[in-house]
Symmetry: C2
Subunit: 597 residues, 2 copies
Amino acid sequence: MRILLSKRAIRTLTPRFQRLWSTHSSFSTSGSGGFSDDPKPESWKTMEGLLRSPANFSPLSPITFLERSAKAYRDRTSVVFGSVEHTWLKTYHRCLRLASALTHLEISPGDVVAVLAPNVPAMHELHFAVPMADLILCPLNTRLDTSTLSVLLQHSEAKILFVDHHLLEVAHGALAKSDRTRKTPKLVLISQSNDDDDEDRSSSFDSNNSFDYHYEDLVKSGDSEFEVIKPRNEWDPISINYTSGTTSRPKGVVLSHRGAYLNSLATVFLHQMSVSPVYLWTVPMFHCNGWCLIWGVAAQGGTNICLRKVSPKLIFKSIATHKVTHMGGAPTVLNMIVSSPAGERKPLPHRVEIMTGGSPPMPKILAKMEELGFNVSHLYGLTETYGPGTHCVWKPEWDSLSLEERAKLKSRQGVQHLGLEGLEVKDPVTMETVPSDGVTMGEVMFRGNTVMSGYFKDLEATRKAFEGGWFHSGDLAVKHPDGYIEVKDRLKDVIISGGENISTVEVERVLCSHKAVFEAAVVARPDNHWGQTPCGFVKLKEGFDCVKPEEIIEFCRDHLPHYMAPKTIVFGDLPKTSTGKVQKYLLRKRADEMGSL
Amino acid sequence: MRILLSKRAIRTLTPRFQRLWSTHSSFSTSGSGGFSDDPKPESWKTMEGLLRSPANFSPLSPITFLERSAKAYRDRTSVVFGSVEHTWLKTYHRCLRLASALTHLEISPGDVVAVLAPNVPAMHELHFAVPMADLILCPLNTRLDTSTLSVLLQHSEAKILFVDHHLLEVAHGALAKSDRTRKTPKLVLISQSNDDDDEDRSSSFDSNNSFDYHYEDLVKSGDSEFEVIKPRNEWDPISINYTSGTTSRPKGVVLSHRGAYLNSLATVFLHQMSVSPVYLWTVPMFHCNGWCLIWGVAAQGGTNICLRKVSPKLIFKSIATHKVTHMGGAPTVLNMIVSSPAGERKPLPHRVEIMTGGSPPMPKILAKMEELGFNVSHLYGLTETYGPGTHCVWKPEWDSLSLEERAKLKSRQGVQHLGLEGLEVKDPVTMETVPSDGVTMGEVMFRGNTVMSGYFKDLEATRKAFEGGWFHSGDLAVKHPDGYIEVKDRLKDVIISGGENISTVEVERVLCSHKAVFEAAVVARPDNHWGQTPCGFVKLKEGFDCVKPEEIIEFCRDHLPHYMAPKTIVFGDLPKTSTGKVQKYLLRKRADEMGSL
C-alpha cells in the first residue's frame, strides 16, 4: 500500500492535530500565556517587580538551534550526502514541512515516532521535525534483529516507523512478529541515495515490500509556514533511546528537551567546536542521537557530512573533499583508520579532532592516529547521560610527555562536562565517595540535568538507578589524586578470583599491547579452585596465526600480577554491537559452556 | 571601626544563617528532596517510569562553572592582577571562604550585597561568593556621584557594601546622604593593589574613613569546606544591575541564575572562546557582570587579566605579557587604542579577538584596529538582556569586500545569540513585525531566557517592558533582507523634523567620517518652523581647532539629505557614562536651553 498525499490533500485533512494540541497545551507562545507547570518561583513572590512572561521565559529545546541557524547561518551548508547539499534555511524549511505533514497523520501529541535508518539526511531532519510536531523520536539501532526490533516497537508504542529502504525488509520482519491484537505503526519509506555508495547504487530495493508513505512526499506535502509546536515544558520528552543491550534486555531511556539542549552545548564545548565546524558522521546517529551532536552541530551552524556506511576509504575521501574538522567514533573506528591500506588514505587538509568513547584509546592506536594528523580526545558517558558526560580534559603540560605516558593519561575518563552538576566515584552501598588515591574502586555516579528522565515504563528500574540521589552507572572506577576518574570495569564484568577483584579492562590493555593481538576481551571462567579466573578472547592480526595461546598467557604473566593473567586464551572474532562494543554476555556464555578449570 | 574576626570567632557565631536557610529552602542537594517550585511536569505524569530526582535535576547556575573549573582546570591560572596570581582551585577556595564568612555576618538569605569596585580580583570573586551564600549581588557603577549612589543603596536595600579603597570616600559620602531612619549597610574594605598602577602605589588611602571589615580578613576567616548554597530554584535572583541611566532614572534590573548561566554560555559561543582563553578586563565588571564573561571565562577555565584602570599602554603591555586572546570594550576603548602614541604600543603576539558593543565601530577605527592585529566583532544588548543579546555573525564571503563595505556590514547588530528565543523588529503599537527591507523602522524586541526577571520594585515598568510578550528595548532598528537587524536610534532620541524621522545615529556616522571630528552626538533642537532640527555636539581632534561649524554643516549637507543635516554644531567634550555612552539627556537639555531656531 502506498499513499501519496498531495499538499492540498494534507491541508484539507481535519486539523485534528491542531485541535488536540490546543486542548493539550497550557503554554502559549504568543501573548502572556500561563505557565501551569512552572508557577512563579517562590522567591519572586517576595521580590517585588518581577514577572514571568513569554518575554523572559521559554522552555529550553534544541529545536531553537535549528531556528537560529536558519537565520544566522542560512546560506551555509547544513548537510552533505553524496551530491545532495542543503543549506540551513533549506533544512529548516524541510523540517517545518515534515513536522506539518506529521501532524496530519493518525497521530496525537506526545506519541512516539520510531526511525530505523543509517546516517542519511532524513535521520538528521527527523531529530528536529519530530519534536517540532510535539512528538517523541525513537531512533532504533540499525543492526538489531527482527525479534528485538519487534519488542522495541511494541514497548515504545511507536505510531509511525520511518525506515530506510535497505532496512524495509527487516522492518517488515519485525512487524510480522508483533502482537496481532495491537495496531502496527504506519511505515514511511526513506530512500535517500548516496552516489559514493556502491551498495546504494545497486540498491536491491524490493518493490513487494509495502509502505504507507514516502518520506519525500511527506516533506513536499507539508507546509513550510508551519508554526513549530514548542514543548509546553522543557522537561517534556524529546527522545526514547533503547540501550545497546550489551548486558541485559534493552531499556528505553527517556531524554528531555532541557537535557538535550544542555548536553548538546556541553558536547560542543568539550569537542572544541567553533563556528561552522564540518562534522563527519562516523558515529551512528541512532546512538544517543549522535552523541547529541545532531543538535550540537546545528547550534554552531556546522556542516554535517552524512555517510551511509563507514569505511576508511570514505573517511579519508570525505575529510579531504569537505575539509572535515571534527568527527567521532568508537575505538573500532580508530582501529579501522590506522589499519587501512595506505592506498585508501589521503593526506588530511589540517588537524582533525576526533572524539572517541566506549573504551579508552590504546597507546599504539593513539600514536598512529597522531601520526596521520588526528587529535584524539577521550570522552565517556552512557545512553542514560545523553551520551557524553565526562571528558579527559587535556593539560598543556602533558604535551611534552612520552607517548606511553600520554596514552596512559588520555585513557582516563576525566572530569564532568559543563552540563553536569556532579560526577563521583562512590561505594554503591554506603554512598561514600572513594578517596582520590587512584586505587580504591567504586561505582561511577552522575548527577545533573543531563541525566535521563527515567526508563520508559519501568519506574522500579528508574528508582534503582537514582538511589541516593545519584545516577548509578554500573561502571567501576578509581579517582586519581588530580580528580580525574578512570573506569576499570563494568560492575558486572569484574572477575573475582580467590577473593581478589580483577579489572578486565586492565587485563585487556595488556593483551592488546602484545604485537600479535588485534583486539581482545576478557571475561570470567568458572574455576574449581579460585572461583573464577580470567579468560581472554583474542582476535589476532593478520600474519600472526602461528602464535600460541601459551605465548600470550606468558606475556600477560610478565606484565601483570600472576592472579590477573588469563588462564585461558581463545582465538577468534569478537561479537560486537553495532556501536562497536564487545558483547561480553555472549563471551561469558561461551566461557561458562567451557566448564570449570 | 574595624573588626577583625578570627576564623574561630566566625565559627562560634550563632549559625543563624544556616538555620534561616534551612527553613527557607525547599530543595535539598542530597537525598531525593522535594521540588515545591518545580512539580513533576504534566507530561511525566502520563509517561510511566519517569522520576524527578537530584540525580537528574539541578537548578542552572553559573556557580557550577567555578565548581567544575576547580576540578577540570585546577592548576591553571584564574586571575592575574599585577604580581597577584591565583589558580582556579585557589579562586574556588577563596570564594568558599568568603561565602562562608558572609553567612556569619548580620544578613539573611536573599539579601542584597552591593559592591563598588573596579576590575580587581575581589570584584571577580564576589560574582561567585555572593550567590554561593544565597545572596544577591548588586554591582554599582564606580563613576556614580554620591547622590545617585545613595539612592541606589537605599533602593536595593543592600545590607553590605564592599568598597574599593579608592572609592571609600565616595561610599561614605553616599551613606551620609542616606535616610537616617534606615540602617546603613556594613562596609567591607577591598584594598587589592596592582604594582602596575602608579596611582595605586601612591595610594592616598585616608585612614580616617572607617569600615567594618577588611576583605582579606573575611576571606581568611571563612571555611574552605563551606557547603555551597545552591539556588533552590534556578529563577532565583543572582544579581541586581542598575541601568547606566543615560536616559532616565536608574532601574534595578533583576537577573536570575538560569539567565546568567545561559547568557554566559551564549556569550562564550559568540566570542568564539575555546578552552582556557586569556581575557583582558577592559570592560567594567560592574557593567552587566562584565557582559556575563566573569562567569563565561570560568566556564572555559580561562585566565582573567585584571586592570584597575584602562590605558592604551596597559592594554598593549598586558596583551604582550599575558598573551591575551580576547577582550572587549565600548567604542571609546577602540578609539583609545587606535589613537595611542606609537611609543605606548607593542606588537600583538597573535590576533586578538575584541568584542565591541554600545555603538557600532566606525570604518576608520575598524581599519586601524585590523592593521594593529585585532579582530573586531560587534555585539549588541542591554542590561535587561544580561548584556550581549545579538551578534553580527560574520560570513566568510564578506572577507573579500572593501573595508568600507565590511565596516557597513559589521556595524549591523545582526542576529540573536544562542540563549535567546526570539529577536524581532516590531511596530510597538500593533506588535507587527516590520518587513525585512532594510528601510522600515520598528522597535527592537527580545524574547527568551536571557531577558531580565523584571525591574526591582517596579512592576509597572516591568509590565510595560514586557507588553505583548516581548521585551521592548526602546531601540529603533530596521531588518535587512538577510535577516540582520541594524539599530538606527534610541526610540526617545529620534528627531522629528517637518514630519520626517531622522536617525541621529546616521547623522553621527556622517559627522564622524569628517577628518576633523574625534567624536560626535546629535540631539533634537526645538525649531519654530520644523518642530525639531538636528543639533550636533562635536569633539574635534587635536590640531583641528580652526575648523568652523559651517564647514561641518556643509559636509553633512554633501553626505546626507538636507533635512537630516544639523542646523547647529557645538564644539566641546561630550558628557559620558562610565561605560562610555554619551549622556544624550544632558545634551538635549543644553539644546533645549539654546532655545528655538
